[in-house]
Chain length 255, copies 4
C-alpha cells in the first residue's frame, strides 16, 4: 500500500539546513526523503532521529554529479513512496577563496555541475510532474554569491549567479501552473557541522564562539522559514528572501 | 494594572493587510493597536472583531501627515498600554499613474511625507526604545515602486525608493541592537476593500473576477508571513522579501 | 542676437564633477550655464576658466532649496540664452554618518528637498520642453546610497533611493519622447576641493595621499563619461552606470 | 619585427557588435584580431574593410567550445602579434524561448559552455598577463538574461547570470591590479545581420521596420561606448551599464 503522506525530498541532507528542514517537514506530516553524497552513518542518524520522533523518513546515498542519479531518485521516490509535494535543493559549491590562477577548469566546471546543472536536472525531472498535478514547491538554498561576485569566488559566484537566474526562469514558467519556486539567499554562516564544521575543522568552536550568542544561523530556525515558504497560499507567494544573523552585516553594507 | 501582553502597533489599519495583520497578532497573544486616518466605524468594526474573537485591541484615528501624531501615538501606547514589541508601517502613497506634467509639487511632497518621512518618524520614535530593550521588530509594507520606477509613478516611486533605502539604513544600525527591520515588497493586487476597492469602486468585483481564483493577494495569507517574519529567531532574520499571487508576473519579468 | 550654441545647464557647479563637466561641454561647443549655491568668487573662476579657453559660459548663484529658484533659472536660461539641450543635476545631500537619534527631522527633510525634490523640480521645468523639441538629455549624479542604505545614512540613503527611482520613472515617460535620462552612481571618493575637500578640511591631503596614485576619482575623467552619455545616439542609450577608482572596492563587495 | 600597435582581440566577431567594435579599435590605432566560429568569407570581409580603411586587422576562425581553442588563440596572438591590451568577449548563447521540457541537458550545458565557461577561459588565459603588465581591459557583452530570468530562458538566463557574477568576481580580483573588467547589458534588439538577422530570416526587415527609426541598437553606436569604456582613466572606471534604444522599455519596466 502506497504511503498516504505527502512526500518531501531534500538533496543535500547534512546535519545543517538540509537535515533540519527534513525534520521539520516530517514533523509537519510529510514523508521526508533525505539524499546526500556520503556518510552513510550520518544519514542513518538523521533518518533515525526523525523516526524516533514519530515521523516518516527514508535515506539515500547519491552522487548528484553522476548522470541519471537525480532523475532516477525522483522516479524511484514517486513510484515507491508517493508524489513529491515539496522538494529542497540544498547542495552548495563553495570551495573557499581561490585566485583566478588557482581556479582550475575542473573546479569551475564542477561548481557549475553541482550548483547550476544539478538543480536544473532536479527541476526537469520534478516540475513537470508538479505542474501536471497543479501543485508543488521547490525550495532552493542559495548564497550571497548568487547576488554579487567577490574576489576568489570565480567558480562559486558563476555557479550561484546561474542558479538564481535559473530559479527566476523556472518561476516564470511554473508559478502560473501552481508550482512555487523559492530562492533563499543564506547571507551568513550556518551552524552546520557537516559543511562549515568540516571546512573549519578544529577551528569551528573558536569561530562559533567569536560570533557570539545567536551569531551563527541556526538551521532549525531556517527550517521554520522554509516550512512557511512551502505553505504560503498560492495567492501570496514569495520568490526570494535573504537570511542572516542579527549580528551579521548584510552583503550590501560596508563591513 | 498595566496590560501584560506584548503590544503590536499598526499604522494604516484598513480592512486589507493592516487589519488582517492586527488580527493575526491579537490571535497570537498581542494587544493590537490599530491606527488609521479615517472611517471610525470601520476601525470600530476591526477592533470589535478582534475582541469578539477573544483578542485584545485598541483603535485610534490619526492623521500621520500631521506633526507629532505618530510620535504622540507611540508615547501614548507605550505609557498606557505597554512596550511596543512589534510594529507595522502599512501606509501607502499610490496615487495612480500621472504624467510628469500632472504630478503637482504638492502631490510629490505628500507622497514623500506619507511614504518616506512617516516611517522615518515612526522609526525615530520607536526604534531607540526597542534598542534599549534589546528586542523588537518593525515590519514595513512596501511596493514594487520601491525597486523600479515606472512611467507615471514619479511621486510613488520616489517615495517608495526612499522608503526601501531607509529600511536598509535602519536595519544596518538597529539589527545589531536586536531590532528586526523587514521590508516587504507587495508585488501584486491585494484583495483589500479599503484601498484597491475604493480606487476601483464599482469595478472592483469585475477586476477581482478577471484575476481568477486566488488571483489577488489574500491579506490573511500576508498576515501569516508577517507574523512569521516578526517571530524569526534573531540568528535567522530576513530583511527583504516579495509577495505576489501565483498567477501574477513578477516585476522583473516581461508581461 | 540669441546665442546659436546649444545650452548645457549644471546645478551644483563646484570645482569637482559639476565644474569639470561644464568645462567639457563648453569645450565641445555648448554654452555652459553654471549654477551653484554660494562662493561667488569660485563660480567666477570657473566661468572665467571656460572663457579663457575660448568657451562660452555664464554663472548664477542660486539656492535650489528655495521655491521657484530652479524653475526661474530654467525659464531665464531658455529665454535669454537658448534652449537647454543637456542638463546635469549635480547636487548631493551627504551629511556624513549620523545615528538615527542624531538625525533631526529637519536634516531628513532637507536631504529630500535637495536630493529628491530638487531634481523632480528640474525635471518638471525642463523635460516637457525637451520632449516638445524631441531631443535633450538629463544627467543625474548619484551616489552609492541610491542603491544600498548603510548605518548612519538614514537621510542620505532615503533621499538618494528616491532619486534613483525618480530617474527610472522619468526615463520610462521621457525616453520614448527622445529625452535621455541617465543616473550615474559615483561609488568612490571624488577629488573635489569644494565638497570632500571641505568636509575633510586639513585632512584632505593626507586622505588623498592614503588613496595612492589615481586612487580618487578624477572629475575630469568623469566629465568625459558624462559627455559620452549625453551624446550616445538614441538607438543606444545607457540609463545607469557606476564609476569608481580601480583601487576601490565596489559597493557590492566585501571590504 | 613585432607589431608596435596595441592589440585588440574580439571573440565573436560577426557583422554586429563584435565587428563594429573591432573596426572602432582599429580606427583608434589598435591591431584588431577578429575571431569567430564560422563564415570565413564574412570574416574576410570584416578584416578587409578594416584594412581598406587603413587599419590593421587579422582574422581567425575558431570554435570557442573546443578545448584549448581560446587559450591557444591568446598565446598565438600575444606571441605573433603583440600583447593584448584590450579584449571583447562577444559570444552569446540565446537559443530562443523553450519550455523546460524542451530544454535538453545538451542545450543547457552548451549555454554554459559558451556563455559562462568560455569567458572564464578567456579570463584565465588573458587577465594574469594583463595583471603582470599592470594594464588592460576586458569588455564583456551581456544580455538582459544576466539580470533577470524569464519564462523559456532556462539555459540562457542560467548561463548569463553566471557570466555576470563571474565578471564581478574577476573585477574584484583584477581591478586593483590595473585590469578593467566591464559587463555591458545589451537590453534591446541589435541591428545585427549575423545573429538576430539569422534568427529572424526573411522576417528581419519587417521586424526592423516595426521598430521604427533608430528602434534597433546600432552596433556602431555601441562600439563608441565600448571604446569609451576601454579608455576610461583608471581613476574612474565603470563596471556595469545597460544599453537600449530610446523606444524600448527597459527590462525593469512594465511593457
Amino acid at each position: 500500500m502506497p504511503d498516504q503522506k505527502p512526500v518531501f525530498l531534500v538533496l543535500g541532507a547534512g546535519a545543517g539546513i538540509g537535515g533540519h528542514v527534513a525534520k521539520r517537514f516530517a514533523a509537519g506530516g510529510y514523508h521526508a526523503v533525505l539524499a546526500r553524497r556520503s556518510d552513510e552513518a550520518g544519514l542513518r542518524r538523521l533518518v533515525d532521529d526523525i523516526r524516533d520522533s514519530g515521523g516518516e523518513a527514508s535515506g539515500k546515498l547519491l552522487d548528484a554529479s553522476l548522470p541519471d542519479s537525480i532523475e532516477d531518485l525522483v522516479e524511484d521516490v514517486e513510484r515507491s513512496i508517493g508524489p513529491i509535494h515539496s522538494a529542497l535543493f540544498n547542495l552548495g559549491a563553495q570551495i573557499g577563496n581561490r585566485r583566478l590562477e588557482d581556479t582550475t577548469y575542473k573546479a569551475f566546471e564542477l561548481g557549475w555541475r553541482l550548483a547550476t546543472f544539478a538543480p536544473f536536472r532536479l527541476a526537469s525531472a520534478l516540475l513537470p510532474r508538479m505542474a501536471q498535478r497543479g501543485t508543488g514547491s521547490l525550495l532552493v538554498t542559495s548564497a550571497t554569491a548568487a547576488v554579487r561576485g567577490n574576489a576568489g569566488q570565480h567558480s562559486h559566484a558563476a555557479a550561484m549567479g546561474g542558479r538564481r537566474m535559473l530559479c527566476q526562469s523556472l518561476n516564470a514558467e511554473f508559478a502560473p501552473k501552481g508550482v512555487h519556486v523559492a530562492h533563499i539567499v543564506i547571507d551568513g554562516p550556518v551552524d552546520a557541522p557537516d559543511t562549515l564544521g568540516k571546512m573549519l575543522g578544529d577551528n569551528f568552536d573558536a569561530y562559533k564562539a567569536s560570533k557570539g550568542e545567536d551569531g551563527m544561523i541556526d538551521p532549525a530556525a531556517v527550517a521554520e522559514t522554509y516550512w512557511h515558504l512551502a505553505h504560503q497560499p498560492r495567492s501570496a507567494w514569495t520568490h526570494e528572501l535573504d537570511i542572516r544573523p542579527y549580528t551579521d552585516t548584510p552583503w550590501w553594507n560596508d563591513n
